[in-house]
């Protein structure tokens, strides 16, 4: 039997309604929307524009021309950062961000650093929430962009988008947010939140993989990454991924309607999981903020147990861990590190990303599984034994290994 899927921050299954609406565009409606001299292109173009309108609705954008379709949110993020730098006339331009951003932001910035761009990391608190004063202090006349995610994929922390947008607006600095984790879970409104650029991914909201979008507020310009046929107002050349875009549009429509019932339902499951773990299993901690977090995210540390071994024990569930042991590079989660979680607890962390398919029964089963296996693994853990004897595990020196 396949494990119960609880890794919805990584990706989500395709909603059957999305699949259904995409299918004809993989088959009979195969036209290229740029070739509108005939009915094939016309049909495709119409469908793409309808999808654009669905994305407009989700974000409360003002104008369909503000939506640029891309291949994924990583592309959208790269476009904004590299495109803003390319057009900037400032020498050593500065970009303000935070240490818990997705790699698509942090690694793009790293590359830009080699061209003289300066990354300024605003302070965050122990939940990962950005310090607004720190942003204000960093702003100067070389600041060309503020980029701060809407929600974190590991710890679920929500950022105060509206306040950040307000600051950006007051200082006349464009504000970009990577909103892939937030859409369909919390309301993101580009007008009210004063957002100038926003990255979207379809597959994080029950749409298809390989398609994303960038919201680009009217009046703002970025240099394109791709030159060519001049599609998407010249900002993103390349033949449009019609079926993908249709799917993204439908997923956006459903995401907008999920903000009420479904988000609440998942929030209840999340709380049942978090409270269940904290109450039933001692020496467990919640990583991230207790309330200012994605309705579908629970990130918990089970002290004295290594995360991958706990995942093995919970093989009836598909979840992920911030433990070094599970990553190819043997480094523990940089997000947990950035919010000051000690290595030992990062090692013991499990991320649960709930979604539409999860039920109350799943959580009940999960809690029982966790309780049983945490006990089993702790009985096997020398760290637990030491902690019982009053030894501070974080301070213990492993002098005896011979490396």
């Amino acid at each position: 039997m396949k494990p119960i899927y609880m890794d919805h921050h990584a990706t989500t299954p395709l909603d059957p309604r999305v699949l259904e609406i995409m299918l004809p565009y993989l088959q009979e409606h195969f036209g290229n929307p740029s070739s509108s001299t005939h009915i094939y292109g016309e049909i495709a173009k119409k469908a793409v524009e309808a999808a654009r309108e669905q994305v407009v609705q989700l974000l409360n954008a003002q104008n369909p021309a503000e939506i640029i379709f891309t291949s994924c949110a990583t592309e959208s993020n790269n476009m904004v950062l590299k495109g803003a730098v390319a057009l900037s006339k400032v020498e050593n331009p500065e970009i303000i961000t935070i240490a818990t951003e997705h790699k698509a932001i942090l690694d793009t910035l790293k590359r830009l650093n080699r061209q003289g761009v300066v990354t300024r990391l605003a302070k965050i608190d122990k939940y990962g929430i950005v310090d607004l004063d720190s942003i204000k202090e960093m702003i100067n006349d070389r600041t060309i962009l503020i980029t701060i995610q809407a929600a974190n994929s590991e710890i679920g922390t929500l950022q105060p988008l509206r306040s950040i947008g307000q600051i950006a607006k007051e200082h006349n600095i464009p504000f970009h947010t990577d909103a892939v984790q937030a859409l369909g879970k919390i309301k993101v409104d580009v007008e009210k939140d004063h957002i100038d650029f926003l990255s979207i991914s379809a597959h994080k909201m029950y749409g298809p993989k390989g398609v994303g979008a960038l919201y680009l507020r009217k009046g703002h310009r970025i240099a394109p990454l791709l030159d060519g046929g001049g599609q998407e107002r010249g900002v993103r050349s390349g033949t449009l991924n019609v079926p993908g875009i249709i799917g993204l549009g439908k997923a956006a429509e459903i995401a907008g309607s999920d903000l009420t019932g479904e988000a609440d339902r998942v929030r209840q499951l999340r709380d049942m999981l978090i409270n269940g773990v904290l109450e039933r299993i001692d020496q467990t901690t919640l990583n991230g903020h207790p309330t200012l977090r994605l309705p579908n995210n629970a990130n918990l540390s089970f002290s004295y147990i290594e995360g991958e071994s706990l995942i093995l024990a919970c093989k009836a569930f598909a979840v992920s861990t911030g433990s070094a042991c599970s990553s190819e590079t043997l480094k523990s989660s940089y997000v947990l590190k950035a919010i000051g979680v000690p290595d030992s607890l990062a090692h013991s962390s499990i991320r649960f990303g709930l979604g539409k398919s999860n039920t109350k029964e799943d959580i009940t089963l999960l809690l029982d599984t966790l309780e049983k296996n945490v006990k089993r693994l702790r009985d096997m853990s020398p760290l637990y034994e030491m902690a019982q004897q009053g030894i501070d595990v974080d301070k213990f020196e492993w002098g005896e290994h011979k490396h």
């Binding site: 071994s309 042991c325 492993w398 290994h401």
Partner: protein, 129 residues
């Protein structure tokens, strides 16, 4: 890393680890930490006439580390100290039908713990005399 990258034997040892715990009457104990990823193994052995008659482990680590520890205790029991000196991390990994490449260092943890436990035993013997 996920279950299906581990051999059946690794999973079997992870799920039913042999010799978990601490020997009450151990005369050699090794505690080692893994500098690569921060994991810890504690191995206690009971030596009689230069032969390991019993061994138990406790491990904080991934599935491969737990399976390696379990396998190691099986491999050392009944062997003389000279014999167990030949046991390397490679031998442990092979006995488990192999480990994923990134997990080979987890078997090093087992080897290190064995060496540390034997060192400890020898130290204890010296102190006695």
């Amino acid at each position: 890393m996920s279950t299906f990258e581990y051999s059946e034997k690794v999973v079997e040892h992870y799920e039913n680890p042999r010799n978990v715990g601490v020997l009450e009457d151990a005369n050699g104990v090794g505690v080692v930490g893994n500098p690569t990823c921060g994991d810890v193994m504690k191995l206690s052995i009971k030596v009689e006439n230069e032969r390991i008659v019993d061994a138990k482990f406790k491990t904080f680590g991934c599935g491969a580390a737990i399976a390696s520890s379990s396998m190691l205790t099986e491999m050392v029991k009944g062997k003389t100290l000279d014999e167990v000196m030949e046991i390397t991390n490679k031998a442990v990994a092979e006995a488990l039908d192999g480990l994923p490449k990134v997990k080979l260092h987890c078997s090093v943890l087992a080897e290190d713990a064995l060496r540390a436990a034997i060192d400890d035993y020898r130290k204890n013997q010296k102190n006695k005399h």
